[in-house]
């Protein structure tokens, strides 16, 4: 599962970076979204990845990471999702304003040289 998760994060992050470097604003925002998915998964994977282990300390079971998964990255990722979502939404507004001002969706507001 670690390999799969690493692969998913890598592919998401790689595509995100490629898209962010593209000249169209829509591609940039898609890239930022993909990157934030990659980052969120990455934070999540920093707590130990287990199947069927709740992030709770249960009575009678020793409270070490062998028996439960770390709740901290989960709460961190929740906050990161909310903040990332809000700032991306804000970016979308600026993107539309830029489209309105320049009439093009190029990030610099000028059409590319042919």
């Amino acid at each position: 599962m670690e390999a799969l998760l690493a692969l998913v994060i890598g592919v998401l992050g790689g595509s995100g970076i490629w898209l962010v470097l593209r000249p169209r604003t829509f591609q940039v925002i898609m890239g930022l979204t993909l990157l934030s998915y990659a980052v969120n998964l990455f934070i999540f994977s920093m707590g130990s990845i287990f199947i069927d282990k709740p992030p709770l300390v249960r009575p009678g079971v020793p409270a070490d990471l062998q028996h439960y998964t770390d709740p901290m990255p989960q709460s961190l990722v929740l906050t990161a999702i909310v903040i990332g979502f809000a700032t991306t939404a804000l970016f979308l507004v600026v993107l539309l304003a830029s489209r309105g001002f320049s009439g093009t969706d190029h990030v610099d507001g000028t059409r590319e040289e042919p």
Partner: protein, 551 residues
């Protein structure tokens, strides 16, 4: 440790938040009430910051940090706010600049949009919170609060240049936030904690095989702050964004680069001042900072408009601070702190001045029709001189000219103002590597210090040339134009910032004593770590007995 107000350090975060909420409730109509609330809250913030600094400075050389456990949980588990000398100094800086920016905004900008004041206060909350927080994740949250407000403030007043530079600014900062989270997650993976004091204490226990991962995490985290601090290859966003935005916002933005510097200063001294990873990244910081100074100086020489000059001055001051952070000696850090105070105030004043000065030559709607036909560029000025002599010399031009001159002296670091004191102490500290002033004259000066020395002087020269050129163009070659109309609050805010710089010059000795105590505290972080980790929660009246076990 008995203090007058043990929970006072919560106020710099809560006060702007509450004010912002109040400002939203006031609605769009009551503009006067909103203005008063905004300026009043900024003033209260400054007073609170001064009180915190007083408290932090009274602690003697050991510099006891004030700690508040926000939810009454012990330090590594709960959220803590910590105010030591460095935090308190930064809070005071925020207080001064924000008060002047708020005053300035009352002239016109505050009325240009419905939510200016609320966003302004939220930005202050983010700044203050970033300076006070004691753990990395809250640092991220306060960073985002600050940035989200700054996105709104940057676009305040709208217009194509703002939207265009805003698009780049936001994209770069979203990327930087992603890097921040990646670095944070790696650090958590290695250390198992996000409390700065806890990380600092446990960093010696990290086994050798995990050191690489720790360093990678710290480096990724540092890149996020370096983007904010406008280090050389990563600062293309700064000049367009800062010069396009409205004047009071730009003055506030001058503080935001200092957040990056502050965090680097805090984390590099906490994490890497001793042990196996001592001075990690110091060389990179030093040379990247030197490259940033060079870039800023070249940019200063190349820029024609005053807005760009102010933007490149921010870059030069960032480069100077980063390079002196890379030197890693308490004496240099102390001088750098003084430089940071002086440079931030000066650049903020310059940003306020940009808009006022640009009114001189502007063909705005304030043009009075009795002026004769505008002479062309090549007209003999002697013909135009005659009517000018009879006219009274306008006060606004005189005031702006004087303010510009003072700002130029401050930014370029020429005597007799605080910019010179800052540069002189920085140069002295560079040439006495062991610290302790002139006593260690025999010790060899590292070559990087000489490069730094030269670049610092060269950047001062570049700033002098660039500002003198701008001054000639704006003040001397604009003869025959109308004097700009200057409102009282605008003049007051500008003079306030300049007055602070003059006070900084007059009281340079006590301020330098404080900064050197701050630097000494930074470079021996034991006191900070102990203050945070030894803080015990208050026993609650009805606290149930829980079988507490460390996660």
């Amino acid at each position: 440790m008995t203090e007058r107000f043990p929970h006072l350090i919560v106020a710099p975060v809560v006060l702007p938040l509450m004010t912002a909420a109040l400002l939203l409730l006031l609605g769009q109509k009551r503009k006067r009430a909103k203005s008063i609330a905004n300026v009043g809250a900024a003033l209260a913030g400054l007073l609170v910051a001064l009180e915190i600094l007083h408290g932090a400075d009274a602690g003697g050389l050991s510099g006891a940090a004030r700690v508040v456990l926000m939810s009454n949980w012990e330090a590594p588990f709960g959220i803590v706010l910590v105010a030591d000398r460095l935090s308190a100094l930064m809070l005071v800086l925020v207080g001064v600049v924000s008060l002047c920016a708020a005053l300035y905004a009352e002239a016109a900008w505050g009325r240009a949009g419905a939510y200016f004041h609320a966003l302004f206060q939220i930005q202050l909350m983010g700044l203050n919170g970033a300076f006070l927080t004691g753990d990395l994740f809250n640092l991220f949250v306060f960073f985002e609060v600050m940035l989200a407000a700054s996105y709104g403030l940057h676009l305040h007043g709208s217009g194509w240049p703002r939207v265009r530079s805003g698009l780049h600014y936001i994209a770069v900062n979203l990327l930087a936030s992603s890097l921040f989270l990646v670095g944070l997650a790696v650090l958590y993976g290695v250390m198992g904690t996000l409390s700065m004091a806890d990380i600092a204490e446990k960093i010696a226990l990290v086994p050798a095989r995990d050191r690489g991962l720790l360093h990678a995490g710290a480096a990724v985290l540092a890149v996020a702050f370096l983007i904010k601090a406008a280090i050389w290859p990563l600062n293309a966003w700064l000049v367009p964004a800062y010069s396009a935005t409205s004047a009071p916002v730009a003055a506030l933005f001058a503080l935001m680069t200092k957040v990056g510097i502050y965090v680097l200063m805090r984390l590099s001294t906490l994490l890497f001042s001793a042990g196996a990873s001592a001075q990690f990244g110091g060389t990179v910081l030093l040379y990247a900072g030197l490259a940033t100074i060079a870039f800023g100086a070249i940019g200063l020489m190349a820029s024609m408009s005053l807005g760009h000059i102010a933007g490149f001055s921010v870059i030069v001051s960032s480069g100077t601070l980063l390079a002196s952070l890379g030197m890693g000696t308490p004496a240099v850090t102390s001088a750098a702190l003084f430089y940071m105070l002086s440079a931030t105030l000066a650049v903020s004043a310059l940003f306020l001045l940009v808009e006022l000065v640009e009114r001189i030559g502007s063909d705005g709607q304030r043009r009075v029709p009795d002026l004769d036909v505008e002479p062309g560029e090549d007209t003999n000025l002697d013909d135009e001189e005659a009517p000018l002599v009879a006219r009274a010399f306008p006060v606004s031009i005189a005031l702006l000219g004087l303010a510009f001159m003072v700002c130029a002296l401050l930014v370029a670091g020429l005597p007799p103002l605080s910019g010179f004191v800052a540069k002189l102490s920085l140069l002295t500290a560079l040439l006495s590597p062991r610290g302790g002033g002139h006593a260690s004259a025999g010790a060899p000066v590292p070559p990087a210090a000489w490069i730094f020395f030269g670049l610092l002087l060269l950047s001062g020269l570049a700033a002098t040339i660039s500002l003198a050129r701008a001054g000639i163009r704006y003040f001397w070659s604009s003869g025959g134009r109308l004097p700009p109309r200057l409102k009282a609050v605008e003049a007051a805010s500008l003079l306030g910032l300049i007055l602070c710089c003059i006070l900084l010059t007059l009281f340079a000795e006590p301020v330098l004593r404080t900064t050197s105590a701050t630097a000494a505290g930074l470079h021996s972080p034991k006191a900070y770590i102990e203050a945070v980790l030894s803080m015990k929660p208050r026993p609650g009246p009805t606290r149930p007995v829980i079988d507490e076990e460390a996660p």
